[in-house]
């Protein structure tokens, strides 16, 4: 049987998964850890520690008080140096908690043993509560608070849980290594989420370029009920929520709606592991697996990093910054963002740090649009990127909204495929930003 995938558009960027055979290594404890208060989607968390306080590993340091917001726990023990503004990835200063590390003292009640704990007897509410307490957010990159996602609103019903282990971004291998090395833990996490959602079916979508992970998980999944491993055809952006739902259960999410509209809930592989650790081991979300890779990196690696560790620590552990580095990107090459400094911390949503060479990171000169319609063919949302870009430059926001700019998932396929090197996504993003503002103003009124 042919492998499943989504139907419209998509591109095939070079995979470059150079770190896929590098086993997960534990990165040491940083000297100073930084916890930005706005590391998840939604309202920033409210700090509950102040300057001079002593904290332990796993201690709650900031509380998510709004509906869409998450708790933040310290990943280190030591003294709070300041609750002050600190550089974020874009170079702006954002409120953060800065902790000077002293020793490595853990909060009591956290199970640090490596043994697998399979059985759980908690009810749906207890699980959701634990997830909320542990401050778990979507670890694919968008960092949407998981407890909000798993709370099914009245009138809606979840039928199927889809685990996003696609990792369609080139270079990134964090989820791949996680499935190989912590596959069973992840599967327990999946069963816990299934209980929380009251669904009997879970599909783990994995792209076919990770054959060893598919095999390993298929073996392990036999011990679990209702979990199916689904190999998917390699195509970018399969890891996008809407594309994955289409590929896995062949349902299309209507424009502007969530996957729950078609009875699906999508969570990330890393999130499932975090759920396992929170529920079974009582460990809040304080570390994550981060891929550090790049063509000229001496030792491309997958690190288990404590949140708040500065990025330069990872770079040093992987053999230092290569001389021909052109850009440092947080995330993958397609959707990631270039960072402005290596002092920035790893947050809950950092899936990888990519050191691009100068040659790779150079933009090709922009030429005229030759009306080849490659961007239209590549757009996984069925939009017309060239047209959206024109409307955006002309500031015709009314038409832009009608043309569905808000459906754009900013995957960058159009920009990737354009033979004239036109910055389509950049231009569309400007327009999408403005249209979003207009819509929000309209809703307020």
């Amino acid at each position: 049987m042919a492998l499943r995938t989504f139907k419209i558009g998509g591109v095939h960027p070079p995979e470059c998964k150079i770190a896929e055979h590098a086993a997960i290594e534990e990165l040491g404890i940083p000297k100073r850890a930084i916890f930005p208060l706005g590391q998840s989607l939604g309202a920033p968390s409210v700090p509950i520690v102040k300057k001079g306080d002593m904290v332990k590993v796993g201690q709650l340091i900031a509380k998510g008080e709004a509906f869409i917001s998450s708790n933040i726990h310290s990943s280190v023990s030591g003294k709070v140096f300041a609750v002050d503004d600190y550089l974020d990835a874009s170079g702006y200063r954002k409120p953060s908690i800065i902790i000077d590390v002293e020793g490595d003292e853990w909060e009591e009640g956290i199970d640090r043993s490596p043994n697998l704990k399979r059985d759980f007897s908690l009810s749906k509410e207890e699980i959701l509560n634990k997830i909320k307490e542990a401050g778990i957010v979507g670890m694919g990159g968008a960092a949407f608070p998981t407890h909000v996602k798993l709370t099914v609103p009245a009138g809606k019903k979840a039928e199927c849980l889809i685990i996003n282990a696609v990792e369609c971004e080139p270079y990134l291998t964090a989820d791949h290594r996680l499935m190989l090395e912590k596959g069973e833990e992840m599967l327990v996490g999946v069963s816990i989420i299934m209980r929380a959602l009251e669904v009997s079916r879970a599909i783990i979508g994995i792209e076919n370029n990770k054959k060893d992970a598919i095999q390993h998980l298929s073996e392990s999944a036999k011990k679990f009920q209702g979990i199916k491993i689904m190999a998917l055809k390699v195509k970018y952006p399969q890891g996008a929520e809407k594309q994955l739902v289409k590929a896995a259960i062949n349902r299309e999410i209507p424009s502007g709606k969530l996957p729950l509209e078609v009875g699906a809930v999508v969570t990330n592989a890393g999130t499932s592991l975090a759920v396992y650790e929170a529920v079974q081991k009582n460990k809040p979300l304080i570390d994550r697996i981060v891929t550090l890779t790049g063509k000229s990196v001496a030792k491309p690696s997958n690190f288990l990093v404590r949140n708040g560790s500065p990025v330069f620590m990872l770079i040093e552990a992987a053999g230092g910054l290569p001389e021909d580095t052109g850009k440092i990107i947080s995330g993958g090459p397609m959707m990631g963002k270039a960072v402005t400094s290596t002092d920035i911390p790893v947050t809950k949503g950092t899936s990888g740090i990519l050191l691009m060479t100068q040659k790779e990171s150079k933009r090709v000169p922009v030429q005229n649009c030759i009306r080849c319609a490659k961007c239209t063919t590549a757009c996984p949302m069925g939009l017309e990127p060239y047209y959206l870009a024109i409307l955006s430059t002309n500031e015709n926001y009314e038409s832009l909204e009608k043309e569905g700019v808000m459906d754009c998932i900013e995957c960058g396929s159009c920009h990737f495929t354009c033979p004239s090197g036109r910055p389509l996504l950049d231009t569309i993003r400007v327009g999408k930003n403005q249209v979003g503002k207009i819509i929000r103003n309209r809703n307020v009124r």
Partner: protein, 286 residues
Amino acid sequence: MNDIMLYSLITLVALGCIAAILLYFIAQKFKVYEDPRIDDVVDLLPGANCGGCGFAGCRALAEAIVKDENLEGKSCPPGGNATMEQIAAVLGFAATITEPQIAVVRCNGSFENAPKKIDYDAVGSCYFAHTLFAGEGGCPNGCLGCGDCIKSCQFDAIFMSKETGLPVVKDNCVACSACVKACPRGIIELRNRGKKERRIFVSCVNTEKGAPAKKNCAVACIGCGKCVKSCSFEAITLNKNLAYIDYAKCKLCRKCATECPTGAIRELNFPPRKEPKETVAETAEA
């Protein structure tokens, strides 16, 4: 002349007359009265339709003037006081005098003062760059140098300096405030032109604390408040680590500029400073 031609002629003339009478009555019925003074005022206005007056073009301003029967609160930045006086004379209203203004770029983060730490190679739009990152020099409030202000100017009154990477306002600026609206960081401000085009202003909009501000830019305002203390006219206020000189109160004494430890206060079109002793002598003479 045969009959056919004659009949055709008579029919056409008759049709023409009937149509003319009909059109006359229709025109009377649907007549829109427009104050003829509006056209007079429009003729006096520059016709740039820049929107600097706050109305949607020159005709909208003319309509508003004629409708309100006064000139209060209305001004034409490109035309200046001369235009407003002419309009006042034609309409017989009292002329209101407004101080002529000019756009001022309140950032001095040139290549030298705020060295580039990173290179930006995406779309050349300040609005877009602003949503993406803090800036090549690292200052989160400073000029991004993509030139949205220059694109917005209809009067060719602002250009990008190649040496500094900052926009420079030329003297032909009419203060239409198009660039003020175009700048996503609110760097450009309209200020009074001042006596003999002499202006003094804080050339910084950075609201960070002193240390991070100074780290990114040699001429950042660090919010030390020395200028506030030095000013004898209470023209300077300090808000969010940033000093601001009120041009209405400022007497152009330049005391604050000498006090400023970072050189964030800029003076334009002043004669070069003389030695301290001579300055005293000069003021005594004056």
